[in-house]
């Protein structure tokens, strides 16, 4: 009986020793993963440099608009009626508050996307406008 217990115990210990020998080391695998996670990588920078454009100064301003002509140019964002009444309101404000300022409201043929209207620019320059309010997007 004692011999049977001894043999059984020995077998259990032997099996346990075999399992320990063939099982992967838990500490070893975790260590390999950690080393991999901490590895430093050289990667390319995908971003693209943007150069700042050359600066152009604003035109000098006159001291006052009194007695002068200003233009209001509607670039027609959203169509010819979308924001035109804003300019009409501004025109009304000048008429009430600064009646010496002559105001002209125009729609630009170039529109918001095309932008330019050479005939209108010629008119503005010809009238020696003291200023131009241009808009209105949004």
């Amino acid at each position: 009986m004692k011999n049977k217990i001894l043999i059984g115990s020995s077998l259990i210990v032997l099996i346990a020793l075999i399992c320990i020998a063939i099982a992967p080391s838990a500490t070893g695998q975790a260590g390999a993963d950690k080393a991999c996670d901490e590895r430093l990588l050289n990667v390319l920078n995908p971003s693209i440099s943007t150069k700042m454009v050359a600066r152009v100064p604003l035109a000098p301003r006159a001291d006052t608009l009194e007695g002068k002509t200003i233009y209001m140019v509607d670039l027609q964002w959203g169509g010819p009626e979308a924001a035109y009444s804003v300019f009409e309101e501004m025109q009304g404000w000048f008429a009430r508050n600064m009646p010496s300022v002559k105001t002209e409201v125009r729609r630009s043929k170039g529109g918001w996307m095309g932008g330019d209207d050479p005939e209108l620019r010629k008119e503005i320059i010809g009238k020696k406008a003291a200023g131009v309010i241009v808009g209105i997007g949004g």
């Binding site: 390319l44 693209i48 050359a54 027609q76 979308a82 320059i125 131009v132 949004g138």
Partner: protein, 440 residues
């Protein structure tokens, strides 16, 4: 607005002030540095301005400038009369900042993934980091030099090497790279509009099979690696090329979910009915050419259900196209729909169908002008007396007009698995096509 203002200020020395909604004006500082160069003075109204009633416009003029907080008219007068500051008198090229380094500082995978997201170089799906080894492998797929320009936008230049890095990020195999390069020649046109623009990518030619692109069942769904990855690369490149960062430069109010994949499909050329040519052939190429066509648009409407005899597909196309802006259209249809249109309804070529739709799609003039993009883009032409816009602007609003004046702007792509007679009507306008082999 800033171009018009700058021209007056610079050439004619006439003071200007730009007036817009705050949604536009808040990007003025970026525009000054990288686009216009002139420190235009602005005033900002609340948004929206366009389309508001007169009472609101009156309140805006009587209210405050949202940029400086002063009464609006005072702000306008000061913008036109206050003496220039030293900053506003500056001229010349600013000192150039340090160029972007070719390589990032070496770091762990986790840190780099976090950095790429923070810099908004991704679509917020996981990316493959562009290590030197991976990029070198990608570059072997093209004969073009690494520092050669693929696409330019102002001073910003997408080189072949940068494109390779982006291709790696998107998960591409090197064999996809020439196709990606062809697509990325258009990277600068990735949508950043206040409206919801998106792109479409259509591939034709033998390269579809060589790459394993999907043109059949589930062609518009996530079932194909090259369809997914090529479309994704355009999104990544477009963001990087455009320096599109959410709080700095992006002004698309809602955006467009199509931007994740840019509707990247291959045409099912093998299932085209007799007489119907691939899109690339319609654009002037040979069937043996490998071509990619890129388009831009906004809208994408599903047929929902299958074709019905009493109201066949071309009539449904006509009906659905009334919802499109009218600048162009691309209809993506299953081969069974193309077969029906040819055999049961007599459209022997794609061009015949285009012509029919051009003549039969009608909308009320009010509907046409009610679309803000049409109003902004076409009104100046009406204003200049150009037809048909001049007439369309004068007719009573309920008058029916035919907005698709150019039949060639109505295009068709046949794709799908012949499982159902379904289709999509879109307002995407496809470009002239780019030869992929020139990028091998």
């Amino acid at each position: 607005m800033s171009r018009f203002a700058r021209r007056l200020e610079e050439e004619s020395k006439i003071p200007t002030v730009g007036a817009s909604g705050i949604n536009v004006v808040k990007f003025k500082d970026y525009e000054l540095k990288y686009s216009n160069g002139m420190p235009i003075r602005y005033v900002a109204f609340p948004f929206p301005v366009a389309g508001q009633p007169k009472s609101v416009h009156k309140a805006y003029v009587e209210g405050k400038d949202l940029l400086g907080g002063k009464p609006m008219m005072q702000a306008i007068i000061e913008a036109l009369t206050k003496p220039l500051t030293d900053e506003e008198k500056k001229s010349g090229i600013p000192p150039e900042g340090a160029p972007q380094p070719r390589l990032l500082k070496p770091d762990t995978e986790a840190n780099l993934q976090r950095l790429f997201k923070e810099k908004e170089w991704t679509d917020f799906n996981p990316i493959i980091l562009p290590t030197e080894e991976r990029v070198a492998a990608m570059l072997k797929a093209t004969s073009h030099k690494p520092n050669e320009a693929v696409s330019k936008m102002g001073s910003r230049e997408l080189t072949v090497e940068k494109a390779a890095a982006i291709a790696v990020m998107a998960g591409a195999k090197p064999e996809y790279f020439p196709t990606m390069l062809a697509v990325l020649t258009q990277a600068a046109s990735f949508g950043n509009s206040t409206s919801s623009m998106a792109s479409m990518i259509v591939v034709n030619g033998p390269i579809r099979k060589q790459l394993g692109m999907n043109s059949g069942t589930g062609v518009m769904s996530p079932y194909s690696e090259p369809n997914s990855v090529i479309g994704r690369a355009f999104a990544l490149a477009g963001k990087i090329m455009g320096d599109l960062r959410l709080k700095e430069t992006v002004y698309t109010s809602i955006g467009n979910n199509l931007q994740y994949n840019n509707v990247c499909v291959a045409e099912n050329e093998e299932e085209l009915p007799q007489g119907w040519e691939p899109l690339s052939v319609e654009l002037g190429y040979k069937r043996t050419d490998n071509v990619v066509s890129i388009g831009t648009g906004w809208s994408y409407i599903s047929s929902v259900g299958e074709a019905q005899l009493n109201h066949p597909p071309h009539m449904m196309f006509r009906d659905y196209m009334r919802s499109l802006a009218g600048m162009g259209a691309t209809i993506i249809m299953d081969p069974t729909v193309a077969g029906l249109l040819r055999d049961a309804h007599g459209f022997k070529t794609k061009a015949e169908l285009s012509e029919w739709l051009s003549k039969n799609v009608e909308v009320a003039a009010a509907t046409y002008w009610g679309n803000g993009v049409n109003a902004t883009a076409s009104s100046p032409m009406a204003f200049q007396g150009l037809e048909p816009f001049a007439t369309w602007q004068k007719v009573p609003p309920e008058t029916l007009i035919k907005p698709f004046t150019n039949a060639k702007a109505i295009q068709f792509v046949v794709a799908g698995g012949k499982i159902q007679t379904t289709w999509f009507a879109t307002d995407f306008r496809l470009g002239r096509g780019i030869l992929i082999d020139s990028w091998k």
